[in-house]
């Protein structure tokens, strides 16, 4: 499903060059729930941005379904992000002027669904995360957990090949975090590939596999189940 080869990401900070991701190679088979953990500054989020085509690596390859996507022009990468990938951000990143339903509909409309079709599909996704009764609420009218569930609904509505989640529980209380994790586990049970960055071990342990990063290097790659 997804493979990275010799992936490296370097940053310039003044005169200093920081290697955030250092020559990493691994693969993620379809249907796996992978968590990437590590301390703050270990390079886990940077790695996720490279995997999710949100950033360009300094070197290496990101291969999805046999195709190296690094060298593709931005327009093509945007298309792949739209059609094949789903994103869940730490601070939800849902659009404040759109209702829960409209936020979820947006990638579907961009994919070419007509309004009714997008609405129907988005409602299904919202139902999956238990937000049917809040679909017409603006983000400002929702709690943090509900906003994160809108973000999940938006990520899954268009049936992506891989979901990328960047610390999705970081801003949530324990109970809501549990609900969000439950949603991920259910999606994974249905065959959804998920790659999640987290620094919380109890959530990492719920996934199929955990990669631990230290200073941009993989120090352990463990199967949890």
């Amino acid at each position: 499903m997804l493979e990275i080869r010799n992936l490296t990401k370097k940053f310039k900070s003044g005169d200093e060059t920081i290697v955030a991701v250092n020559d990493l190679s691994f693969s993620v088979p379809a249907g796996q729930f992978l968590t990437i953990t590590g301390k703050s500054g270990s390079g886990k989020s940077t790695l996720l941005y490279q995997l999710g085509l949100l950033d360009m690596p300094t070197a290496g390859e990101v291969i999805i379904n046999g195709q190296n996507l690094v060298s593709l022009p931005e327009e093509e990468r945007t298309k792949i992000r739209l059609n094949d990938l789903g994103y869940i951000f730490q601070d939800y990143a849902i659009l404040p002027s759109l209702t829960a339903l409209e936020n979820t509909m947006l990638p579907l409309l961009m994919q070419g669904y007509n309004f009714k079709g997008a609405e129907r599909q988005a409602k299904k996704a919202l139902a999956k995360v238990g937000l049917t009764d809040r679909e017409n609420n603006l983000p400002g009218e929702l709690s943090g957990g509900q906003q994160q569930r809108v973000s999940i609904a938006r990520a899954i509505a268009h049936d992506p090949k891989i979901i990328f989640a960047d610390e999705p529980t970081a801003n949530l209380d324990t109970e809501t975090s549990g609900q969000v994790m439950q949603a991920f586990l259910e999606l994974n049970k249905e065959g959804q590939t998920i790659i999640m960055v987290t620094h919380e071990a109890q959530y990492a342990n719920l996934s199929d596999r955990t990669i631990l990063l230290v200073d941009g290097h993989i120090v352990s790659d463990t199967m949890n189940k």
Binding site: L54, D55, R81, L85, P107
Partner: protein, 425 residues
């Protein structure tokens, strides 16, 4: 099938998603901000129309008055080497058969000197208080029917058919109204209605009572001494009925060119010059009108630049403050063009609303108001010249300018790195 062909419809998908985003943004925008932007756009549009419209209307008002009161739709005047229109009575009969004929007036003209203090004793070498004036002989009833000249009498009364010993005097001949003492140009001082003046034309002179003072903003009247036609013929020593000017009014909707050609076909052109009002207007008036049009457009252009800058700032601030929002959109796979379209739609919305409000104000309020209450300029009653085609042209210019002004800042922000925008760095 809910999903449409992706590649073929990508442009329409971008338009659709752009509209989806723009409509939601506009719906949730601050009402006062939106009102302010639309207000600026409305003012800009009004500025585009009104500045040039008033400047042109200044001359147009003068032309309209000239046409309505002085020369009508068709004017017949002597050839340049003649002083009168030959065969005036015969021409008068032909005129009545012109297609669309409504009315006409025959005026007798000449040049005169008017003196006011001719009874006073003056020192040897001193000049009498006098002024050179055009002499205009009218039939009081006929002229009243044609131009309604009596409404321009600001003091005294209008002439009657029996007023052989009276004249009307145009305000431009009086110092009270035209206080100019330039070399070679003199006006009459201390003139009152009921006072006597001496009118000298050629070698004939006669005393007249001033029956009224005319103020019309039409030079033909304001610079003339107006007397009965029979009196002017006497003063100019003419025993025939050949006139100085014949002005013809046509029924509304009649074609003046058709009427002019009719007169020419019927031989009037052999005796005098036949011109439509448009042809008879002095060239300098046309030049001033064109100059004011250019001037108005230049001033309006400044307004257009201001509106462009306003929209640029609005969209730029909007896009900059929502840089992260734009980053998220790009991150989840929304095409840059769709995001760009959303800003273009917003700029279009502000401009279109401003234009619609401006159009309503111009054509349903301002233009009708100025038609009823013209601006009282010193030499004309200024109206607002605004036509639907010219307003539409300006609307397109404003719309295009606004869209460009919205496009540029949105593009600048949208082109920034997606991840940097999402992370706010």
């Amino acid at each position: 099938m809910d999903r449409k062909e992706k590649t073929e419809n990508s442009f329409s998908q971008n338009l659709k998603v752009g509209w989806f985003l723009a409509s939601r943004d506009l719906r949730h925008a601050n009402i006062w901000t939106t009102t302010l932007i639309v207000f600026v756009m409305t003012l800009t549009f009004l500025n585009l129309i009104i500045v040039s419209g008033i400047l042109i209307g200044l001359i147009q008002g003068s032309e309209d008055a000239q046409k309505k009161y002085a020369i009508g739709d068709i004017v017949i005047s002597p050839f340049l080497n003649r002083s009168v229109i030959e065969q005036t009575p015969k021409i008068s009969e032909i005129i009545k058969t012109v297609p669309g004929y409504k009315n006409h007036t025959i005026r007798f003209t000449g040049a005169a000197r008017v003196e006011s203090n001719y009874r006073d004793t003056i020192r040897p070498g001193d000049k009498r208080d006098g002024v050179g004036a055009a002499l205009l002989g009218i039939s009081p009833a006929g002229e009243e029917k044609f131009s309604g000249i009596s409404k321009f009498i600001i003091r005294g009364n209008y002439l009657e058919e029996t007023d052989q010993d009276s004249v009307l005097i145009g305000k431009n001949l009086l110092y009270e109204f035209t206080p100019i003492e330039a070399p070679g140009f003199q006006t009459l001082k201390n003139i009152e209605v009921g006072q006597r003046v001496k009118v000298k034309a050629d070698n004939i002179s006669k005393e007249y009572f001033i029956k009224g003072i005319v103020s019309s903003k039409v030079d033909e009247f304001d610079t003339s001494v107006i007397a009965l036609d029979s009196e002017v013929r006497k003063l100019t020593g003419r025993s025939d009925l050949n006139a100085g000017t014949i002005a013809i009014q046509l029924l509304p909707g009649s074609d003046p060119i058709l009427a002019r050609n009719f007169l020419l076909r019927n031989g009037v052109g052999s005796y005098a010059r036949v011109q439509t009002a448009e042809e008879a207007f002095p060239k300098f008036l046309k030049d001033i009108k064109a100059t004011f049009g250019i001037l108005g457009s230049a001033i309006s252009g400044i307004g257009l630049v201001v509106a462009s800058i306003t929209i640029f700032i609005v969209i730029f601030v909007n896009a900059i403050t929502r840089r992260r929002y734009i980053g998220i959109l790009k991150g989840i796979g929304i095409n840059q063009k769709a995001i760009l379209f959303s800003y273009i739609y917003q700029a279009f919305f502000y401009a279109a609303l401003g234009i619609i409000l401006g159009m309503i104000l111009i054509f349903f309020l301002i233009k009708p108001y100025f038609a009823v209450h013209p601006i009282n300029f010193p030499f004309s009653d200024g109206i607002l010249v605004a036509t639907v085609p010219s307003a539409m042209l300006r609307a397109w210019i404003l719309l295009a300018t606004t869209i460009i002004a919205g496009y540029i800042p949105a593009r600048i922000v949208i082109r920034q790195n997606t991840l940097n925008a999402i992370l706010g760095r």
